[in-house]
Symmetry: C6
Subunit: 267 residues, 6 copies
Amino acid sequence: MVNLNRRCPSGIVGLDELIEGGFPRQRSILLSGTCGSGKTTFAVQFLYKGITEYNEPGILISLEQDPRELKEDMAAFGFDLQKEEDQGKLIIIDASLARAGTSRMDSSITSSRMFSEQLAGSRSLMPDEFNIDRILDLVVEDAGRIGAKRVALDSLPALEFLMGNQNETEMRHSIRQLLISINYRLKNAGLTTMLITEIPEEGPRISSAHGVESYVADGAINMYYTTMGMESGRNMIIRKMRGTAHSEDVHPLAFKRGVGIQVMKHV
Amino acid sequence: MVNLNRRCPSGIVGLDELIEGGFPRQRSILLSGTCGSGKTTFAVQFLYKGITEYNEPGILISLEQDPRELKEDMAAFGFDLQKEEDQGKLIIIDASLARAGTSRMDSSITSSRMFSEQLAGSRSLMPDEFNIDRILDLVVEDAGRIGAKRVALDSLPALEFLMGNQNETEMRHSIRQLLISINYRLKNAGLTTMLITEIPEEGPRISSAHGVESYVADGAINMYYTTMGMESGRNMIIRKMRGTAHSEDVHPLAFKRGVGIQVMKHV
Amino acid sequence: MVNLNRRCPSGIVGLDELIEGGFPRQRSILLSGTCGSGKTTFAVQFLYKGITEYNEPGILISLEQDPRELKEDMAAFGFDLQKEEDQGKLIIIDASLARAGTSRMDSSITSSRMFSEQLAGSRSLMPDEFNIDRILDLVVEDAGRIGAKRVALDSLPALEFLMGNQNETEMRHSIRQLLISINYRLKNAGLTTMLITEIPEEGPRISSAHGVESYVADGAINMYYTTMGMESGRNMIIRKMRGTAHSEDVHPLAFKRGVGIQVMKHV
Amino acid sequence: MVNLNRRCPSGIVGLDELIEGGFPRQRSILLSGTCGSGKTTFAVQFLYKGITEYNEPGILISLEQDPRELKEDMAAFGFDLQKEEDQGKLIIIDASLARAGTSRMDSSITSSRMFSEQLAGSRSLMPDEFNIDRILDLVVEDAGRIGAKRVALDSLPALEFLMGNQNETEMRHSIRQLLISINYRLKNAGLTTMLITEIPEEGPRISSAHGVESYVADGAINMYYTTMGMESGRNMIIRKMRGTAHSEDVHPLAFKRGVGIQVMKHV
Amino acid sequence: MVNLNRRCPSGIVGLDELIEGGFPRQRSILLSGTCGSGKTTFAVQFLYKGITEYNEPGILISLEQDPRELKEDMAAFGFDLQKEEDQGKLIIIDASLARAGTSRMDSSITSSRMFSEQLAGSRSLMPDEFNIDRILDLVVEDAGRIGAKRVALDSLPALEFLMGNQNETEMRHSIRQLLISINYRLKNAGLTTMLITEIPEEGPRISSAHGVESYVADGAINMYYTTMGMESGRNMIIRKMRGTAHSEDVHPLAFKRGVGIQVMKHV
Amino acid sequence: MVNLNRRCPSGIVGLDELIEGGFPRQRSILLSGTCGSGKTTFAVQFLYKGITEYNEPGILISLEQDPRELKEDMAAFGFDLQKEEDQGKLIIIDASLARAGTSRMDSSITSSRMFSEQLAGSRSLMPDEFNIDRILDLVVEDAGRIGAKRVALDSLPALEFLMGNQNETEMRHSIRQLLISINYRLKNAGLTTMLITEIPEEGPRISSAHGVESYVADGAINMYYTTMGMESGRNMIIRKMRGTAHSEDVHPLAFKRGVGIQVMKHV
């Protein structure tokens, strides 16, 4: 019998039985994967199933994709994000537009769009609001307001984009500091956190771009393609899960319309 | 039954059935491939079949090759680009000459050539016109004029050439900003966008040169050679297609005179 | 019959018989491993079993993880760290909070927490106390007070984080100097030392990040994942153990709830 | 039946049938290969057979080797370059001596040598003449004079040597600009161009040193060694040939005294 | 019959028969190996067996390890270094403490220790004495005094540590100069020299860290681990031995208590 | 029947039949190999057999090894260099001492040694004489005096050592210029030249350290170790031989006492 005070069910079909019933609560999980491996779907499913199956409201910080496109994409898996937003169970913090720094954006369109979304409880950051401290303030505030238990940040490399020109050593230093800060504030707000990162190479072995992300995380899951001859597929491996006896094997992933991601057992 | 409001048929024989009927509309697809993998043919076929089979006008931004040579090459696949240009269905924005910065070019030849092409609706940029904002302005303007639904940019590395001397970190930063900007403007103009990029190594796993191109794209297709002993061939893998249940396998490609590229199923 | 004046039993089931009864006393062992390989569990088990099975008090310098989380995680293996702390057999020097440099931390919470922990004999460093000389002073002082025989430092890469911006050559130089200094002081205090380091790549061959850590250490153990098809597992190899005839083979590791890490013999 | 207005027969036995009868006319072909793969022989054969079998005069720009040594070496394959030079069918532009910048060269020898060669129509550049614009001027002028249809440049890396100290980014930028300029002028002079480049690694996959050469070229052929146990041999792969349905396989090469290079079919 | 005027028996069981009876006299041998491969044991055995079996006194320059620890470790192989020191057959030059530059060392302890060791003929350098010229002076002086025929330096990378911050090119230059200087002086003093270096990667192919060490050496022996599945072991290959017909094969090594290193023949 | 005016027999048993009777005369051969592959022996054998079997005097430029040690080592293969020096058939230019820049050398010893060697016709450079122009002057002068037909330079990387601190790009540029200059002067003096270079990695494919050496050379031979399980051996491959139909296979090498290097045929 899983103790839901200590474990946070992942919402990914087949995963919880590999990690003693769910992620450890109030900890952070690093979700790394290569291009197209399904990271965003994984994180959104974690939030969406949290709401619909465990009644745990959630927050999505979208640094990559426009929320309208995201909702469209997620509909294919049967995740109705708009509905949960409307019911105040889901908040999407849209930092995707702000980071563009596009000077040509039609301000009238932007304003009206922000208005409609604020009605629904979600937020679109203005360009000058965009910094990680501001975002963390919003998350903590919103989490208190809707009683959120889960948060996902998509993605860490977009933060790198905000840091301007730094050499690799500076970057590693900054990212470590940033992660410690994110971790500290979100855990203290009672949230179980999922941090998405993109990695350049395939394979079960690499779990972060700067080699520092995984130090800070309590768990690390890696998603990647394997190719054998002409057949190819997506897999997952649990690299780290503190305080948890976890599967060490490679598990194939299935992406099903109307269902989402399913973790398979290999034969 | 494919919903053509949501899906944009690719025009590549055998591809649409692997991606639920076509690319997602008003999204951007990153087409990466190594030298000689057939990227330009793929992108031109996307535009040409869009015009001839789905009556969707298109725009080609050619940063690499002289349009006259391109038309000659494409005739081998049975694509009569001149005819579609003459009928106002296709616009080629020629930025290939401009980027050379060749001081020795005979200006009389250049002028007459530009004149004849402007009659046909296409454009040859003057050296001092060459910057991405100017090109995007032209695309948006032309797209409105001919009712274009598709655009292809050949290729992203040529943009890098325009950015002058930057170190790798600056370059990555600049390219990300550029891509966000291209994406924002072309999607807002109602266009489904194909962005070509060249990658140095073979294999199904690498999909961009700077590691940032694929963040911004909604889809990512990779074309590459494989060599087994003395036999070699071209293949394609769909690495990413947001909101789409897509094939994860490697698919051989056939290049047929008078037909174009055909995606094969492996046995 | 093992001479306990010369050998320090590891506390890891199955390991001592591979190294002539235990680590050489008053020497330093470098424990390297990739993300999720179980390094922290290994080091804590070394300390915990030292206390409960050999009555040798120990000190843990935690530069990575919050001690409260660590205790929670270790409980899964049946290690009751709080109890040993309460009985004055274990001291945890918490430098994990201090290194964050988080300006937003609620100072009242921090203070009360430090108070309660100091009662139990453990210490939480204040941000301005954080430097390696200060930590070494504390270790030597505490070791004398509780009669400690063992110390573990988790982890070396966190020290790198404290050194600020240095290029790779400077870093290598600084780390070497630091390690010589750590080694000198801890050995002179009569302690057998375990130093944890994280390495980026998998495999039996790499045992340090900067290539200098292993020079200074008297022993080197490497923990890593291997993947064969879909099956994966954790392994250990003893790379170096001065003055000791040691196993040169790769040994699988089992992580058992209520037991801890067990070194297996391969068949 | 090959249309000789559109295709330019390669002169390499067995190659034309793999590329629809010959190279596309007035285009540029990048010939890349590792040390000793036979690039110079390939390019000289292209020119020599052009003269002797298709009556198409040619120009060789030799940046690497002294023309006298080259003639000696080529005689082994039965190519009598001196004879074609004497009949005004072949012009060799010798930039090999000039690039040495050797201050110790006996000027009297140099002068007399230049005199005798100028009688034969070929040219030896003086050190202060050596720059690519000067060379292109000469090629265009000479091509008009003898009605040349083909030109080969041996080799691109020697141009790099002339550019002085530049970092890799600057170099890539300069080479791209240079190639666009070479391409533009030689095509406009009605020439089919072969550009030789040397690459450091073996294998069918790499086709240029800076990763920019192949963008500009209309065709790309790669020559390389393969080693299997103790047997080794030279091979060729056609990586790219615009507007041409070309073989995608690896083809062994035979180097025959009195014949030249022959492309084999694998069984 | 080995000519002991020309060959210097190695003292390693099974090695001399692979190198025509021993190392060439008054030459330098580079002993490279990865972490834990047994380099120090090899070098000490060379000196110890030289004394006990061939009556050739020796000198050990220890830049890495404290001589007291070293003696302890070597006792496991039955090498009683203290006894040979006491009899004036072995001198250990301890530069291990000096290089730490530890400001906290208790000066009274250091002084008394140095006193006792100087009685035994060995030396502990003071921090301000530490430079390679000073060490070479001591070796030459001591060699004359005890009639030493052999010297071992453990290890070259520790010298790098003394050179302060240099970039890779400067370092390579400095190390080459240093090695030529070491070589020149030790050979002139009639010594056969063994230089230890640590290399990062496993395998028979790499024999130095900077790629310059092996130029200067007259012989090069590489020690490394190989892993096959779960079994692992140490091996040796003779890469170079000037003026000597040597084995080119890989030879397994056995490390035996009371015996030392033994070179095995593979079956 | 080999034309000795055009071919220069190599003196290596079994090699000439693989290269049409010998190296092309008055050309330069790049001999590359890894540590211990036998490069110096190969080059000395080329000179020694030239003298004893073809009556062609030769010159050795030794930048690496002390000539006295070299003579000792070569005696193992039955090459009596001293005898040929005494008969004025061989000149060794010793630049090995000069490059050390050792300030501690006993000047009296050096002087007397130089005197005795000058009697024998060979030369030891003084430190301030050491530069490549001075060496080339000496070679040309000596070649005229003794009628030398062959010269070997051991080795190119030692030249790099003389160039002081340069970055990789500058170094590549300098080395290319240097090689062109060496080539030009030695060929003009009627010499067939062998240039030795050391390369870091094993394998048939790499033939120079900077990637520029092989451009300038007319031939390129690579010597390297291969390891299969526990057996290892030295091999040779002819990578390039201008104007020569040469073997493309890998050939094992045997090093025989009293004979020298022998090229084997594989079965």
